[in-house]
């Protein structure tokens, strides 16, 4: 084993597992599913029968400092939900959609799935099987290895334009060689008290309401902690939120116009000479070309595009650029526009030309154990098989270190069989018909003729009901061991099993067992613990050791780019071809893309298709989070459902008056592609009467399974096409034109 790496530790009063008043307490991390992928520190309480009876936040864990949201507090009611999948099941391919499952043993399931996958590999080639995952459960590592060791290059997730986090991650890697997050002291176990840490003077919350959404390694209430310590915030959001109400400036943006706003702010910063000359000269590439490009975006023009008053755009740019320390916490809204990469590039440039890079209270780089976008075991795949990855030819940017296929091309290929036919699909904890899939009817029709489909999940979802031939019951996080090596701050932490429900197995156990059957050499480990130890081998710690000492913080240093810590060659600078932060991207140019940021009107939209406004006068954004639900989860958990019983569409009071809609009315939300049913909430939080906002990922677990739990009428993605940006990244999930009209009796 390698020498033990130097970490900074937290003082623990007690071992990782101890007894307290007749209960056993186990310390560890939380990780989806159920719930999000932040990895909060939790204490899991089990009784003498081994049942999970209570969850508390771990006050010794610096990440959340004892705090928890309602989804983890309510964990026992998810774990013991009477709707859980408890054992493997199968049904005949001809019975897809019918509630006619037959219980089988794990051995039968493994044997039969192994035989089918081997048969498909032999007949049609391994590339004809798709390996799909959903949201950021900690399974990318294992499912990518399963795909590649089987021989298929086609690992990914069924989301148009890969429009969740990967655009931001790949955009950042392409132009800077690293990924960047706001410095909220999360890299230090002593947090805000760390002597090297400085509170940002200004934080911009851009297309993100982190206190509710808790996205991607960013514990939302850190923003509140920092506001208490004097930080000012600016909010870019079409809705008035709690944070917006407390912001120094609220920018009520028209959904989908983020790139224009960023370019307009850059225009002000460049033309008023507010940028950091020293940083720009020393560490960036292509500033002059960027300065020229932003001349196309004067604030007056940007005001017309974004519907934000010009003076607010100017004011925001000045405030941001003149702050001593500033950072931008951005959200999914940035990924969920079709031309996401140029939007990301423009927003990032705001932090770059102001020199808020790699320093306290600015944008920083979380240390990595595994490269986030890289998967595990790409070397298992031959060059010949790698070249068959779907979308690689059309979207060359995917070649630069990213492991996934391109989902829009995938759907096309499922339909056409061009350049080769697809035959199988492994869906591990993904629910595309309810949640991430665009145009779910199209996805369903493309998938329904595949020869062989397996689903792995916590519950029977609409997608499993519609499509799966085999279904395997997955464990929730208290039912499994795991490593917290996902996104965000890469602390060394473990997820620790405390209970067992039915015959459920963890994703990792399932992947290991099936992987071993399909390609024994690629899965040499006796059990998952050995597999975890192998992954973290470079740290010098085994899984059991890490569990005891966790959380382990890598020693964090600022100004890595000055110290030669960013590049493999040890030279100062950034890990890009030019060694600089590329405001003009050599990698985009190499992939045939515009090397500079630009704005393109979302289409359809008020700017691109004004002729549609008579029919569809409202601008809809989707997917704003609510407290109790994570994506398509939690509709079947009564305590959490009580806080959000129905799928809501927020409608401005003026618009409601015009349309004669009242609170609680059921409406159809419709565009030229399709419609979805929603319940009206009249609220002034929409900052323009033309805006409306609705939930995503609804299904009704209490409804008829053979009607797919009502998902066909509820899927807001009925309105969203499979259509991505020029780079293969980005898709318009959060900006479209719609009309509303009342649901008739009996509909």
């Amino acid at each position: 084993m390698d020498e033990k790496r130097a970490y900074v530790f937290v003082d623990h009063d007690k071992p990782w597992r101890y007894e307290e008043d007749g209960l056993t307490v186990t310390r560890g991390s939380a990780w989806s599913g159920p719930g999000c992928h932040l990895g909060c520190g939790v204490k899991l309480y089990t009784d003498e029968e081994g049942a999970l009876v209570k969850v508390e936040g771990d006050r010794e864990n610096p990440f959340n400092q004892g705090r928890l949201c309602i989804r983890c507090l309510d964990l026992p009611e998810v774990v013991y939900s009477d709707r859980r999948l408890l054992h493997p099941m199968k049904r005949d391919r001809a019975d897809r959609g019918k509630d006619v499952w037959q219980r089988i043993s794990w051995d039968e399931a493994y044997d039969e799935i192994e035989a089918r996958l081997k048969d498909i590999r032999e007949r049609y080639g391994a590339e004809s099987v798709l390996f799909m995952q959903g949201t950021g459960r900690d399974i990318a590592t294992w499912i990518s290895r399963l795909a590649w060791s089987y021989g298929s290059p086609n690992y990914g997730f069924p989301l148009s334009g890969l429009a969740c986090y990967l655009p931001r991650v790949s955009g950042m890697y392409s132009t800077t060689g690293s990924f960047w997050v706001c410095d909220c002291s999360q890299e230090f176990p002593d947090r805000y008290d760390n002597p090297e840490y400085e509170v940002p003077e200004v934080m911009v919350l851009w297309g993100n309401n982190p206190i509710v959404s808790n996205s991607d390694g960013f514990f939302g209430h850190w923003v509140v902690d920092l506001m208490k310590r004097g930080m000012e915030i600016m909010v870019v959001d079409p809705r008035m939120t709690w944070l917006g109400r407390r912001a120094a400036l609220q920018l009520p943006i028209r959904p989908g116009t983020d790139a224009a706003l960023a370019l307009g702010m850059l225009n002000v910063i460049v033309n008023e000479d507010l940028y950091d000359h020293d940083f720009v000269d020393k560490w960036t590439y292509g500033f002059d070309k960027l300065a020229e490009r932003v001349q196309d975006y004067p604030p007056g023009k940007v005001a017309n595009i974004t519907w934000i008053p010009e003076e607010k755009i100017v004011q925001a740019a000045r405030r941001f650029a003149t702050a001593e320390r500033a950072c931008i916490q951005w959200g999914l809204a940035v990924d969920m526009t079709r031309e996401a990469l140029p939007a990301i590039q423009a927003i990032a440039a705001l932090t770059q030309i102001t020199g808020n890079i790699d320093r306290p209270g600015g944008m920083i780089i979380p240390p990595e154990i595994l490269f986030y976008g890289g998967g595990f075991g790409a070397d298992l795949l031959s060059d010949e098989q790698t070249a068959k990855r779907i979308g690689l030819e059309k979207y060359p940017l995917l070649k630069f270190g990213f492991a996934t296929l391109q989902p829009d091309e995938m759907v096309k290929q499922m339909e056409t069989g061009d350049p080769y036919a697809l035959h199988g699909m492994w869906m591990q904890t993904t629910n595309p018909l309810a949640c991430m899939g665009a145009d779910p009817d199209r996805f369903y029709n493309a998938a329904k003729d595949l020869d062989f489909i397996v689903g792995v999940d916590l519950f029977v979802t609409p997608t499993i009901m519609a499509l799966a031939d085999y279904v395997l019951p997955a464990a929730t996080y208290p039912e499994r061991d795991g490593l917290r090596i996902g996104d965000g701050p890469q602390r060394g932490e473990t997820i620790n099993k405390v209970c067992q429900v039915g015959e459920c197995k963890s994703d990792m156990e399932i992947n290991l067992e099936l992987g071993r059957r399909l390609n024994p050499d690629a899965w040499p480990w006796a059990d998952v613990k050995e597999m975890f130890s192998s992954i973290i081998g470079e740290t010098g710690y085994s899984f059991d050791e890490l569990r005891e000492i966790a959380p382990a913080y890598p020693q964090y240093v600022y100004r890595k780019h000055e110290k030669g810590l960013m590049r493999p060659d040890g030279q100062p600078g950034f890990n890009t071809p030019t060694g600089r932060i590329e405001l003009w991207s050599t990698q985009y140019a190499g992939a045939g893309l515009d090397p500079l940021p630009y704005f393109e009107e979302p289409e359809p939209g008020p700017g691109s298709t004004p002729e549609l406004l008579d029919e569809y006068p409202l601008v809809l954004t989707t997917g704003a989070r609510n407290w109790g639900m994570f994506h398509s989860e939690h509709r079947n958990i009564p305590r959490l459902r009580a806080l959000r019983p129905d799928p809501i569409i927020e409608v401005h009071p003026d618009t409601a008056l015009d349309l004669e809609l009242r609170d609680g009315d059921w409406v159809w939300v419709e565009n030229q592609r399709g419609r979805a049913k929603r319940r009206v909430q009249v609220t002034p939080v929409l900052l323009d009467p033309r805006f409306c906002s609705t939930d995503h990922a609804w299904w009704l677990p209490e409804e008829d399974p053979e009607d797919l739990f009502g998902v066909r009428d509820l899927a807001i993605n009925n309105l969203v096409p499979w259509a991505c940006g020029k780079s293969g990244f980005g898709s318009n999930y959060k900006c479209m034109l719609v009309k509303l009209y009342k649901v008739e009796d009996g509909e």
């Binding site: 705090r67 928890l68 949201c69 507090l73 206190i211 939302g220 709690w242 009580a642 806080l643």
Partner: protein
Amino acid sequence: MADYGILVDYEWCTGCHTCETACQMEHHLPVGQFGIKLNEVGPYEYAPDRWQLAYIPVPTDQCDFCAERLGQGKLPTCQHHCQAQCIEVGPIEELAKKATSKKKLVLFHN
């Protein structure tokens, strides 16, 4: 035990419902019953760019200040888990002294 109270700093309460759910789970309360219940005031715009939007959790008759947890040397579960760290449970006399230390504090003598 001295009289206890709950001091809420509603400048910072974000309305996350954590206190409600933590309490329900600690005290095994059914859905719909609360030891502490969140209230929303707003949102509405009362002048251009001036918004009222605040949250205030209010303890109910079912709140026992987590007497059992206090006996074990633990914080009451609402205070322990509060994401905005804006709830403090303690002897009423002590909290009364703190209640004037800043604006937007409310003290419940429950």
